[in-house]
């Protein structure tokens, strides 16, 4: 069997390539939507919710750890719900001339 690639190295690959995608996509965002951009990136950085659920969802780790996880789930989901909704609210205001 060939030598396996270190998973941390795979993660590094993904990270570096994602940075390039981010660079090109974000430069395309129109300056008039920079506030919604900040709000939307805020919402999607609530993706730490995934990590929080892993911490909160394992009963074997003990109640203390689950409580830490619960708090993280709460904070991250405020971000997710608050971020997406406020972005939606802002974007609905942008209208073209009738």
């Amino acid at each position: 069997m060939p030598e396996a690639l270190d998973p941390s190295l795979v993660a590094l690959y993904v990270f570096v390539l994602a940075c390039f995608i981010g660079y090109w996509v974000i430069w395309g965002v129109t300056p008039s939507l920079h506030t919604p951009l900040v709000a939307l990136t805020n919402a999607i950085s609530g993706i730490v919710l995934v990590g929080a659920m892993l911490v909160a969802g394992d009963p074997e780790a003990g109640v203390l750890v689950q409580l830490i996880g619960f708090l993280a789930v709460l904070l991250a989901s405020i971000n997710v719900f608050g971020g997406f909704l406020v972005t939606h609210r802002m974007l609905s205001m942008f209208k073209k001339k009738k």
Binding site: S8, T30, P31, T35, T41, I44
Partner: protein
């Protein structure tokens, strides 16, 4: 139904693609709402795929957290005023930061109980916890400054940079120690020092640099998510973290460029203050040789103008004058006057703040132009109305090499036939720099609250001329 690791990875890939498409949607206002929906769908897929995975065995805490977050997040998002967006964003950044810290510490205990700790993992945990902690306290300080709970003035003392450097080095040393030994003490001390760095990093930055602070913390929150992704070997978190981190970094770059300053200068510079006193605006104005004008004078020239450009700044937001401006736009349009709005990249307290406020007042986005698009139009403009902006139209940036704002790109309002400056007082702008535009022959100052002044102009416009 249980998702296998591979099925889960495929779902995560789908949601990563949706997030990228979502951000891509913000290329244009017409596609932006669809972009936001892509983002929501991506998040839904990610959450469901995680819940269905084998690692999640108990749901009580998760459902409680999700429900609480949904209620709090929705209420806040629906109630928040558009002028308070910078505060909301700062608060949300702090939540991402704190969540990253908690996930890092939680993962440490979680893996420790399973006997799965190793130096690489603990190094990754350190990165997530440190970046998260800096984001958390940094954002709390930014929130305090924006909300007016803390002074907007930069806090500086001797040896500040040395102190920061020492705390930084100590944090790194503790992180290394923690990664090597797994010492709980190192983890906690490292976390506390990183929390301190967040404070000491943001307090020396002045209120004038708020757009940069917001962008920087946006970037940090992304890197915190990415570091958490490394900890959990979760590619979705890494991708999203990289996207958000890049986004904030690019916004910081754009903001710095719009002020002709380097990011180093912003972070270590301590620029801007709360401004001076505000006594007897008219008397000060006369002393300095500027002309003040009455509401009627401005209206007289505007109603027969071919083109009027309005330059809004943070003062417009403070006075809540955007709705009155929308009415003015309609009144002038009805008289056949062309009205446009000119936005400087750093107008307001966060990137794009003015655009949202004008959109809220129902001003069509195709009448709101960015600096580069509109600068060539000022020479052919009859009247420029500056509402609560200052430094962004100051010709000192072009003409006075000794000025602190020299080199900053500006809106060339002074090239119009007439400039009416709506001002509360002769207080200088955020940078504390005197505005050379005031002394130009074609510039007139109209003193008073921006909203009252514009409403007065609207009444005069309705009155039907002179």
């Amino acid at each position: 139904m249980d998702f296998s690791v591979n099925q889960q990875a495929l779902a995560y890939l789908a949601s990563a693609v949706l997030f990228i498409l979502g951000l891509k949607g913000l290329t244009h206002p017409a596609t932006a709402r669809r972009g936001n929906l892509y983002g929501m769908l991506g998040m839904l897929i990610a959450v469901v795929a995680t819940l269905l995975g084998r690692e999640v065995q108990s749901y009580g805490f998760i459902i409680a957290g999700l429900a609480g977050g949904a209620v709090i997040g929705s209420i806040v998002a629906m109630r928040i005023q558009m002028t308070a967006m910078p505060q909301l964003v700062a608060a949300l950044h702090s939540f991402v930061g704190l969540a990253a810290v908690l996930v890092g510490i939680g993962t440490f205990f979680h893996k420790a109980s399973a006997g799965l700790l190793n130096p690489v993992l603990m190094g990754e945990i350190s990165a997530g916890v440190v970046i998260g902690a800096i984001t958390f306290t940094g954002s709390v300080i930014a929130f305090g400054k924006l909300q007016g709970l803390l002074s907007g003035a930069p806090v500086k003392f001797t040896g500040q940079h040395l102190l920061n450097a020492l705390i930084g080095l100590a944090t790194i040393a503790l992180a290394v120690h923690f990664a090597m030994t797994g010492s709980l003490w190192s983890l906690f001390l490292m976390t506390i020092l990183a929390l301190v760095i967040g404070v000491t990093l943001i307090i020396p930055i002045g209120g004038a640099d708020m757009p940069v602070i917001i962008s920087m913390l946006n970037s940090y929150s992304g890197w915190a998510a990415a570091a958490t992704g490394f900890t959990l070997h979760n590619n979705l978190l890494i991708i999203v973290g990289a996207l958000v981190g890049c986004s904030g970094a690019i916004l910081s770059f754009i903001m710095c460029k719009a002020m002709n300053r380097s990011i180093i200068n912003v972070v270590f510079g301590g620029f801007g203050s709360d401004g001076g006193s505000a006594d007897s605006a008219g008397a000060q104005a006369a002393e300095k040789g500027v002309k003040s004008a009455a509401v009627e004078d401005a209206v007289y020239w505007m109603e027969d103008a071919g083109k009027v450009i309005i330059v809004p700044g943070y003062g417009m937001a403070v006075a809540q004058a955007q709705h009155a401006l929308k009415e003015m736009m309609e009144l002038l349009n009805a008289r056949g006057v062309e009205v446009k709005f000119a936005i400087h990249p750093v107008a307001g307290r966060m990137p794009g703040h003015m655009n949202v406020l004008l959109a809220e007042a129902d001003i069509p986005y195709d009448q709101v132009l960015e600096m580069d698009e509109i600068n060539s139009e000022f020479p052919g403009t009859d009247v420029v109305l500056v509402v609560g902006a200052n430094d962004v139209v100051n010709p000192a940036a072009k003409e006075d090499p000794t000025s602190p704002i020299y080199g900053m790109p500006i809106l060339e309002a002074g090239k119009a036939r007439q400039v009416y400056f709506l001002k509360r007082s002769m207080r200088p702008g955020y940078s504390g720099v005197d505005n050379l535009l005031f002394y130009q022959d074609n510039t007139y100052l109209v003193f008073g609250d921006a909203k009252d002044t514009i409403e007065g102009m609207n009444t005069a416009l309705k009155g039907g001329g002179h």
